[in-house]
């Protein structure tokens, strides 16, 4: 733990590894990414979160020189995005749902990529062996990749991304399709890579638990826009976590709104999923200082009491705002 905090202190004073300014990408008339600005220091792990189509993969592809931004700029380790050839030397990428060539072994695969980065054959072979060891595949070095399990392939993909010892790593949905054990192994691997090599990582994921567990910082994207960013703690704090959700039969909605609307501290009432027999009522409460937990709890109880008083059957009652999952859903569900 001490090493981690020391490490963070060091990296906080270090210059930025990645600086992105107003990155924008449009296809014909469609906007894939509106305006993305952020920065990352060496050795930090940043999570990109968002539902499908939020622009995560577009952002990654721009930053990995696969796509050209329509507007905006970025630099990696001081190298401008106008020098894609130099940028490619500095990054390692595990693309989303990537494949492997047929009929190659793990060692051959890594050696090939090492040579593409300009390593001599002997050098590339040596590096391949050490990477396979690092990702725990040394026993399968001479097996065909087609015989690997999904988890092994993902680990091989990460080894490939590390072949040029990049200071910055992009991992797009690395745990997709893995079983919980495989996911856990991969997360541990990511942490150790970041810790042992001081590698900055940008991790795209739709799994919030994953981001909460390994990321130092997070950016939540929706429809190509940043809706929240900062450290995981900051993001959770920034967002409203004062909501209460109540599940009641649909015919009582109007009555419930009337009963709750007058209570001091209630800001807004909204109804999710109309037209069904049962529906969720979302109650937005006034912002309260976080140390005043008592007042908030009292208010919640008051709401419940008001509903009970007018004999509305309450089927479910939940106080939101405890995990990043809720923040994420709240931010990304709006206007949907």
């Amino acid at each position: 733990m001490t090493t981690r905090s020391q490490h963070l202190e060091i990296s906080n004073s270090a210059p930025y590894l990645l600086v992105a300014k107003n990155l924008r990408k449009t296809y014909d008339n469609k906007v894939a990414l509106k305006s993305l600005s952020f920065s990352l220091r060496p050795g930090r792990i940043m999570g990109f979160l968002g539902p499908n189509g939020a622009g995560k993969t577009t952002a990654i592809r721009i930053l990995t020189t696969i796509l050209k931004p329509t507007a905006g700029s970025f630099s990696i380790a001081g190298v401008s995005h106008n020098r894609p050839d130099k940028i490619r030397q500095l990054i390692g990428v595990l693309p989303e749902s990537h494949g492997f060539p047929e009929n190659v072994t793990g060692a051959e695969y890594l050696t090939y990529f090492g040579r593409l980065y300009g390593q001599r054959k002997s050098e590339a072979k040596k590096r391949a062996a050490s990477l396979l060891r690092e990702v725990g595949l040394e026993n399968r070095a001479r097996s065909l990749v087609s015989t690997y399990s999904r988890g092994m392939r993902q680990r091989l993909g990460i080894a490939r991304a590390l072949v040029n010892e990049p200071p910055l790593l992009f991992l797009d949905e690395p745990t997709l399709g893995l079983d919980p054990k495989g996911q856990q192994e991969l997360l541990l691997l990511m942490k150790s890579i970041s810790r042992d090599h001081g590698v900055g990582i940008i991790l795209c994921s739709h799994l919030l638990s994953e981001i909460e567990e390994v990321c130092d910082e997070v950016i939540i994207l929706r429809s190509g826009e940043i809706v929240a960013s900062g450290t995981v703690a900051e993001v959770m704090h920034k967002t409203r976590h004062n909501n209460v959700q109540i599940r009641i039969p649909a015919q009582f909605v109007a009555q419930a709104k009337e009963a709750l609307g007058g209570i001091p501290g209630v800001l807004r009432l909204s109804q999710k999923r109309t037209g069904e027999a049962l529906c969720w009522l979302d109650v937005e409460l006034e912002e309260m200082p976080s140390e005043n937990r008592h007042a908030k709890e009292n208010l919640r109880n008051k709401l419940l009491a008001a509903l009970v008083a007018v004999e509305i059957p309450v089927l479910n009652y939940s106080a939101e705002g405890v995990s990043l999952q809720d923040v994420f859903l709240q931010l990304t569900n709006e206007e949907q």
Partner: protein
């Protein structure tokens, strides 16, 4: 950071160029484990079968040996084209389909070098196909000269075709997102180039047929090869823009140049993760052509077509002009005598011999006009009529004019194409004055030519190689597979 700095430094000092790395990776995917060598086995079996039939079958063995060689050469080119085209067409769209392309694109390998590496890999089977076919060409060639000529023609002209089709497949692949699209588009185009040869003979002769033969690089190449190998023409004769044949190799050379330029000057800019202006969309849009890129493409095609048309028709016009001027000549003369230096000749198929004719102006006073001496060969047996073009590089020769009493000697070369019993005789005729006048030919006595079969073309000579070559290739293929099996660890985890 420090480590990456090291790698960058080393890469600038002694790195293998990316195109070599990409090419060697592609080559090992194609060759290691015997994927491409596996195709050689059926190829050699087909050639063995063909050679054996050509040499032993009663009807087929009547084919002149040079035509047999040409037949083998055609199959060789066709198989080479197909393999190069398919490998080329898989190169980029295959990576896109397998999801391996993004990983390649984020490496520092330049787009152009990636294309070069893949292009070379697509060409790699050709030298081996050529080597296999060499065995059969040697087997069927009546003379060493025919063999070397065939080998030279197929290796030079065939290679031009391979460049065209490997490059073309690769271009299609660059613009396709799936192998299905790139393969079907490339194969349809390949088929279109073959349609012309399948037309009834009327479609192949007229001006349109003539034009198609010249535009189509495969057909143009085969025409040159056939005329030079079988019909005793020379390469220069077939490629003289002002001559009667015109410039046959213009189309293959031009198309090869265009393909290479497109590939290396423009292709790399389109080597994106997903095919920009993907062929899939283009095919859908073909129904409703809109302005913009599609019409620009159309214009390019139309211009290219017009260019080709002008080229071919100008060569046609030149031919017509030459014929016309030939008819506007002078007076007939009857005081001519023509004789030969021998009465008979016995040869074997493939043998060449020379003979001499003497043309004498027996008129005491008058100078003769320009004369044409023509050779004719009559088959005395029951076989096919003889095409003298196959038998001699020169079917006719011209004499400017003869003074009274003067004699002119002409040398003729005959190649014994088919076994059989023949008469060779000559005629000399003055050129007619014009289109409305005619002239009287004078015939010589004849040479009785007996052609015996060449000993090399016997089944006994064919058999060992016809069986041996596929066997050897099978051994090579199995060997490569076994080597690969030893390299790979097969124990399950």
């Amino acid at each position: 950071m420090v480590a990456s700095g090291n790698i960058e430094h080393e890469s600038t000092s002694r790195a293998t160029p990316s195109w070599i790395v990409v090419a060697s990776q592609e080559l090992s995917a194609l060759w290691r484990g015997g994927r491409i060598p596996a195709l050689f086995v059926p190829f050699s079996i087909v050639l063995s079968f063909m050679s054996y039939l050509l040499a032993t079958n009663k009807e087929l063995s009547l084919t002149p040996p040079k035509e047999m060689v040409f037949f083998i050469l055609q199959v060789t080119i066709a198989v080479g084209l197909l393999i190069s085209l398919i490998i080329g067409a898989n190169a980029i769209s295959g990576e896109r389909e397998n999801g391996t392309f993004e990983s390649l694109l984020v490496t520092p390998a330049s787009r152009r070098q990636i294309i070069l590496g893949k292009f070379l890999a697509a060409l790699s089977p050709w030298p081996f196909i050529l080597a296999i076919s060499t065995v059969y060409m040697w087997l069927l060639s009546p003379t060493a000269q025919t063999f070397w000529l065939a080998l030279l023609l197929v290796s030079v002209l065939g290679s031009v075709l391979m460049i065209i089709f490997a490059g073309f497949g690769l271009l299609v692949s660059i613009y396709s997102n799936s192998n299905r699209t790139s393969l079907s588009v490339s194969l349809v185009i390949l088929l279109l180039t073959l349609v012309e040869t399948q037309l009834p003979s009327g479609g192949q002769t007229g001006n349109v047929g003539y034009l198609f033969k010249r535009i189509d690089p495969i057909e143009a190449t085969l025409q040159v090869t056939e005329k030079v190998l079988v019909n005793n023409r020379t390469i220069t004769e077939m490629n003289n823009p002002l001559g009667s044949q015109g410039f046959w190799l213009l189309s293959p050379l031009l198309v090869a140049l265009v393909v290479v330029v497109l590939l290396f000057a423009f292709g790399h800019a389109h080597l994106s993760l997903h095919a920009q202006l993907g062929l899939e969309d283009k095919l859908k849009r073909l129904r409703s052509l809109r302005r913009g890129r599609s019409s620009a493409l159309m214009i390019v095609f139309v211009l290219a077509g017009a260019f080709m048309f002008i080229l071919a028709s100008s060569s046609l016009a030149a031919r017509a002009l030459a014929l016309d001027s030939a008819t506007k000549q002078r007076n007939p003369a009857e005081s001519l005598q023509i004789s030969l230096d021998r009465r008979y000749e016995v040869t074997k198929t493939g043998d060449e011999f020379d003979f001499i004719t003497q043309v004498k102006n027996i008129d005491a006073h008058k100078q003769s006009g320009p004369l044409v001496v023509a050779m004719n060969i009559v088959n005395l047996g029951s076989g096919q009529p003889v095409d003298p073009e196959d038998w001699s590089p020169e079917r006719t020769q011209a004499i400017d004019s003869l003074e009274p009493g003067q004699t002119s000697e002409l040398t003729w070369t005959i190649e014994s194409i088919l076994k059989g019993d023949y008469l060779i005789y000559m005629v000399v005729t003055p050129k007619p004055l014009g289109s409305t006048s005619t002239s009287q030919p004078v015939a010589s006595s004849a040479i009785h030519l007996t052609v015996k079969p060449h000993t090399r073309l016997n089944p006994g000579g064919i058999m060992p190689l016809a069986i041996g070559t596929p066997t050897a290739l099978t051994v090579v293929w199995l060997g490569l597979r076994a080597m690969r099996r030893r390299e790979v660890d097969w124990t399950p985890n």
